[in-house]
Amino acid sequence: MAKIFIKIASVKKQYTNEQGTRQALKGVSLDIYEGEILGLLGVNGAGKTTLSSIIAGIHPATSGDILYQGASIYNDIVDYRRLVGFCPQKPNLDLTLSLEENLFFAGRYYGIPANEVKERMKTLMEQFKLQEYAQAKASVLSGGYKQRFLIARSLIHQPRLIILDEPTVGLDPQIRRELWQHIVRLKASGASIILTTHYIEEAEELADRVCIIDAGEVKVIDTPDNLKKMHNTDRLENVFLALTKQDAKVGYE
């Protein structure tokens, strides 16, 4: 059995606005193992992005805790953030800067010496096939390249936990396949990966374990094969449909 890397214990998230109070997460508990890809699967508004941004240390949980090596991440959230590479759903690049500049500063924010940042930049640019756009401004990139670059940027400080929030949403099938290959390579490097998606085939293809979230609750966590066996089906989609309500929910994401 792999070692637990992050333990999420009864995490609740409540949002209050003029319309009232709503619970986006209703006591989520799960473990993330070292070196695994955990697929967070759910319909729009299920709470996937809320959960991943809480795990990334961006937003606080209303209650509950996240433990890293047995201690709450909130004891030293700044140090914890060094472990995490967060790739958000919406590109948040500096559009007036070139890709090289974006990557260079991203590395320097983590205190990596300039020479080392340049070496890592070169490797990442090659790995993600972005060399020809190195001098181009981030604003000129297409959606697929932006997404690819966002993943590259989240890796510059060599994080041990990589959170990819719907990295392939809206991309054409070819680019999706390419990104899948990158994600598999990341796993091979030993990092733990949380992959948020609402594409069932993506979770089935990439995830070691799948966590199905619905209306802020974890419905099930297991390997895709075990889930299919448990529900006596050969398609993960059937498991997903059986466990999630079909009505659209008010979006929290």
Partner: protein, 263 residues
């Protein structure tokens, strides 16, 4: 603990370096805007309006007013960019995900904005000299005081912009900002008159105008550039400005942390 602070400082310095890189891209456009603003104001007040009986020394007086108040006009653009980002791409969340505390992300933003307006504002003084020639005597400037007031006033504008970003809820409300906040603050902030002029007219009015932080920017800058006589004591203005900067800065950080729901 020292290594931790060193690491925070390194991240903040790199964030500022990034902002300066972005600033470089539209520097000339901004500089031309500032020159047009300075030129039109100084020429009209120093040369055209003298035929209406305006004192000849009003030129340097208004020049310092324009330089001192430049940061206030620049505030609107900064607030718009911040609110636009919060309502749109939320690139600020990337900065929040970096290994620095959230309060430092907002404090850095205020500092970066202060630096931005300082760089532009700094170039206006020699341009003012060119426009006013002998009317503007550079030998009476107290340079150490000018540097202090220059830094403090731009810090104030940086954190004031941050505070306005924290209280202005939506982009659609931005149009009110100029009419309801910036313009009254400017007009009643001693841009066209000194504090003593109001006090002579009405002591109550004089005391009331002390709640406007811009009065300290104007009075402090004029005391440093034109000489202390006729203005509020320089050190009093500096300390008051420091207090306003701290109050606006702390409240902005508290509000933005709540609004962006960060740790």
């Amino acid at each position: 603990m020292n290594r931790r602070y060193e690491s925070y400082a390194s991240t903040v310095l790199n964030l500022i370096a990034r902002d300066l890189r972005i600033f470089k891209v539209d520097f000339w456009g901004k500089f031309i805007d500032s020159c047009i603003m300075l030129f039109s104001t100084v020429v009209i007040f120093s040369y055209f309006l003298s035929s209406y009986g305006l004192r000849p020394d009003f030129g340097p007086f208004i020049l310092v007013g324009v330089i001192a108040g430049f940061g206030l006009f620049d505030v609107v653009g900064k607030v718009a960019s911040m609110i636009g980002d919060i309502e749109g791409d939320k690139t600020i969340l990337y900065t929040i995900s970096l290994p620095i505390p959230a309060w430092l992300v907002f404090a850095y933003q205020g500092l970066s904005w202060a630096l931005y307006s300082s760089l532009l504002c700094f170039l206006l003084l020699p341009l003012g000299k060119l426009l006013l020639f002998s009317q503007f005597d550079l030998t009476v400037i107290n340079y150490p005081k000018l540097v202090l007031m220059f830094i403090m006033s731009n810090l104030f504008f940086g954190f004031f912009a941050l505070w306005l970003s924290s209280v202005c809820k939506r982009m659609t409300r931005l149009s009110h900002l100029f009419v309801r906040v910036i313009n009254p603050m400017y007009m009643f902030g001693g841009y066209l008159y000194s504090w003593h002029a109001v006090y002579k007219l009405s002591p109550v009015g004089g005391y009331m105008s002390l709640i406007n932080p811009l009065i300290y920017v104007m009075e402090g800058m004029r005391a440093a550039i034109l000489g202390q006589e006729g203005y509020l004591p320089f050190w009093f203005s500096l300390v008051m400005l420091m207090i306003f900067t701290i109050v606006f800065g702390l409240d902005a950080i508290r509000r933005l942390k709540k609004r962006l729901d960060c740790i």
